[in-house]
């Protein structure tokens, strides 16, 4: 029972982190039609900046400044990199962000080295906030959850209560209206991109010290957020939320309850004593294929519901 509670907690936490990334990605995609392949790279930059800033002036200033820096870099990249490519079409934009992701990874290695950096959770937050039957839950995890919820609320208020939010909402449901926004379009694009990157930066700051801050973190997480937004339905914020939580929970459950798939494969006559690849199949457990599960879900979704859970668009 307590294992269940814990994996739900951790699953929601991971899901919240995924949503911080996928919401920014969805905003950028819906407004600009650009799939930002480098989105997870901005997440990585957030973690690295937080590491550097926190070694000098502490964690909380890093939580403020790192996302601001990442957002500024994002806006700069949009203005001087993406905008000139816009006239070549969406595939060119996607190629640009792919190259950008590659470049950011190399630059991170240039500046911070090829191995992981010791970005750690602040000392006082490592202690247990509470424990259920002997399993501790640290203050930091509670803090992460609070930050995530605060960001949900802020995002919700921004979208429903402000003028900019209403413009964004209009753009989400009717992409063609973005063009009708007048001469401000370019500025709005730049701000959207910067804002989305800053959100990724926040996720980097609060997630980097738990998941590990290393040059490969972007390429590991990046594809998963793409899975999230395809499963949720491209351009749907609600879909991104549900899919983020779903993948967060599935990942944690699969690891926590190490279910064997042997009975399933036995139905097809595949058992461990057949040897070779059959044996590999029969020995599959939910924990061993946890990294594969998001992609399996993606494939199943594509076969049975290509537009995603909440998707309305067909392209």
């Amino acid at each position: 029972m307590d294992v269940l509670v814990f994996s739900i907690f951790n699953g929601v936490l991971y899901g919240a982190l995924l949503f911080m990334l996928s919401s920014g990605l969805t905003l950028i995609f819906s407004m600009m039609g650009v799939l930002n392949f480098a989105h997870a790279s901005f997440f990585m930059l957030g973690a690295y900046f937080a590491y550097s800033i926190s070694t000098f002036i502490g964690f909380f200033p890093a939580l403020l400044f790192a996302p601001l820096i990442v957002g500024a870099i994002g806006a700069f990249v949009e203005r001087y990199g993406l905008r000139p490519v816009h006239r070549f079409g969406h595939v060119a934009e996607l190629l640009f962000t792919f190259g950008l992701a590659f470049l950011i990874e190399e630059l991170v290695q240039l500046i911070w080295g090829r191995v992981n950096v010791p970005y750690r959770v602040p000392e006082f937050m490592r202690e247990a906030a509470f424990s259920i039957q002997g399993l501790d839950y640290s203050i930091y995890r509670v803090f992460m959850l609070l930050v995530s919820v605060a960001i949900f609320v802020a995002l919700f208020l921004l979208l429903t209560r402000t003028r900019v939010g209403l413009v964004i909402q209009a753009a989400l449901s009717h992409p063609q209206t973005v063009a009708a926004l007048g001469h401000n379009v370019e500025r709005i694009f730049m701000l959207t991109f910067g804002f989305g990157c800053a959100l990724a930066g926040v996720a980097g700051v609060i997630g980097g010290n738990v998941l590990g801050t290393e040059p490969a973190m972007a390429i590991q997480l990046g594809p998963i957020i793409f899975v999230v937004i395809v499963i949720g339905g491209l351009g749907s914020l609600g879909g991104a939320l549900v899919a983020s939580l779903l993948i967060g929970l599935v990942d944690n459950m699969a690891n926590a309850f190490n279910v064997s798939f042997a009975p399933f494969f036995a139905l097809f006559g595949i058992t461990a004593d057949l040897g070779g690849t059959w044996e590999d199949l029969a020995r599959i457990t939910s924990a061993s294929i946890a990294p594969v599960l998001p992609y399996l879900m993606l494939v199943l979704m594509l076969i049975f519901r290509p537009r995603g859970l909440f998707g309305t668009r067909d392209t």
Binding site: P84, V85, F96, V115, P223, V230, P291, V292, L298, V299
Partner: protein, 420 residues
């Protein structure tokens, strides 16, 4: 007759080149690089069937390359164990079939969409297979990959395929066959319709074609050739690792194809040759090679979307009007190239020194940049490279606009002469 020369001339030249190259460059390193070039020429051309011909951007095409490689190695090992027998020379066909089968299955699902969605799906399948390499250990053997020994009996005409030169010729012959076949494909009804689905899929639906079918077929055929290349890759290295199915390999073939130029058949070949060579010779020399590759790719996307081949072919209309027009461009080009070299020298110097400072492998502050030994703790190398970079950037503010101004003027004049 002249038509025959124009059609077959380049191919005869290519065949001669492939036959003759090993006599010019006969070191073991050169042969390895030449073999690698052959493999990646096939792979890039196959990739360009999707990207350049069919307008489909894939981030996961290494799946068909890599899985075919794994199957090839397993087949080689099965022959070694005398479980079955199959001639090594025809193994690439098996690799191609593996690619084809996977391409037919996965292509059916993924080509229902094009554009951004297709790109994401291709990445998803790529990650799926990469993750599987750590689950299905008998087949993939995890991070170690699978080894094989390509030398087995009988040896036709005494060829054992042990020496690198014999493998080179095997790869060269298959490269010739595969590129010729892919070129032929561009001239079939399928090739035409494939271009049409790239240019305007919506319109194609209204003249009798299912865009899904066209893309699916393009995907399957491209996967066939990717698998063929993968089999040759496996034969060449006698080893297949999990990175061959992953996004690194998919990214590499994308870089080769795009930097070479997706608009022409020659582009991907140019890209494959150039980047295979640089990859082999520079990756030992500098830690920053991938940074440079990424920079070149991003700059290509931003400023030369038609790639290297495009930069050359854009001069063809001018050539046809009047060759002397090109002379006008020579000086501005030289000036622009000189400033580019200046910028590159400064930037590379700085990057190399930063890498040296942050590298864990460096024992002291001495490093070698451009064959000169420098001390990264002294200020003057930094100042020197910064000055180069600054001077280059300043000069570029004059020379780059000059190129575009004179280019525009020349094109305008060519057009005027053409029309009247």
């Amino acid at each position: 007759m002249t038509r025959g020369i124009r059609l077959f001339g380049p191919w005869a030249l290519l065949a001669l080149l492939m036959l003759g190259l090993p006599t010019l460059f006969d070191s073991s390193f050169a042969l390895t690089v030449l073999s690698l070039m052959g493999v990646f020429i096939i792979f890039s051309c196959a990739y360009n069937m999707l990207l350049g011909q069919g307008g489909l951007l894939s981030f996961g095409h290494a799946v068909y390359f890599g899985i075919a490689g794994y199957c090839t190695i397993h087949l080689i090992n099965a022959v070694e164990d005398e479980a079955i027998w199959f001639p090594l020379t025809l193994l690439p066909l098996i690799g191609g079939l593996v690619g084809l089968v996977l391409g037919v299955l996965i292509g059916f699902v993924s080509t229902r969409r094009a554009g951004t969605t297709f790109a994401m799906i291709s990445l998803g399948f790529g990650e799926l297979f990469t993750a599987m390499t750590l689950v299905l250990l008998t087949f993939f053997n995890g991070e170690d990959g699978v080894q094989g020994n390509r030398v087995y009996e009988p040896r036709p005409l005494g060829i054992s395929f042990g020496p690198e030169i014999e493998v080179y010729y095997l790869i060269a012959i298959w490269t010739f066959i595969a590129t010729a076949a892919m070129y032929a494909l561009t001239r079939t009804p399928f090739g035409r319709v494939s271009n049409a689905v790239r240019d305007n899929p919506e319109r194609l639906e209204f003249i009798g074609y299912s865009t899904h079918r066209v893309r699916w077929l393009a995907f399957a055929l491209s996967s066939f050739f990717a698998g063929l290349a993968g089999a040759l890759h496996a034969i060449n290295y006698e080893h297949v690792g999990f990175e061959t199915v992953g996004v690194q390999t998919s990214g590499l073939v994308l870089f080769m194809t795009y930097i070479g130029g997706i608009g022409s058949f020659l582009g991907p070949i140019v890209g494959a040759v150039l980047i295979s060579y640089l990859n082999a010779s520079l990756s030992d020399l500098t830690e920053a090679w991938f940074l440079y590759l990424g920079l070149v790719f991003v700059l290509t996307v931003m400023f030369a979307p038609a790639g290297l081949a495009g930069l050359i072919t854009m001069h063809e209309p001018l050539m046809r009007v009047d060759r002397s027009l090109l002379r006008r461009l020579a000086l501005p080009y030289l000036a622009a190239i000189a400033t580019t070299l200046l910028i590159a020298a400064g930037a590379i110097g700085l990057i190399e020194m930063v890498y040296h400072l942050t590298s864990d492998l460096a024992f002291d502050s001495k490093t070698t940049v451009f064959w000169i030994e420098l001390d990264t703790e002294a200020p003057w190398p930094w100042i020197g490279f910064a000055v180069l970079l600054g001077a280059g950037l300043l000069a570029a503010r004059r020379t780059y606009p000059q190129v575009s101004r004179i280019w525009d003027a020349t094109v305008a004049e060519a057009r005027a002469r053409l029309l009247g």
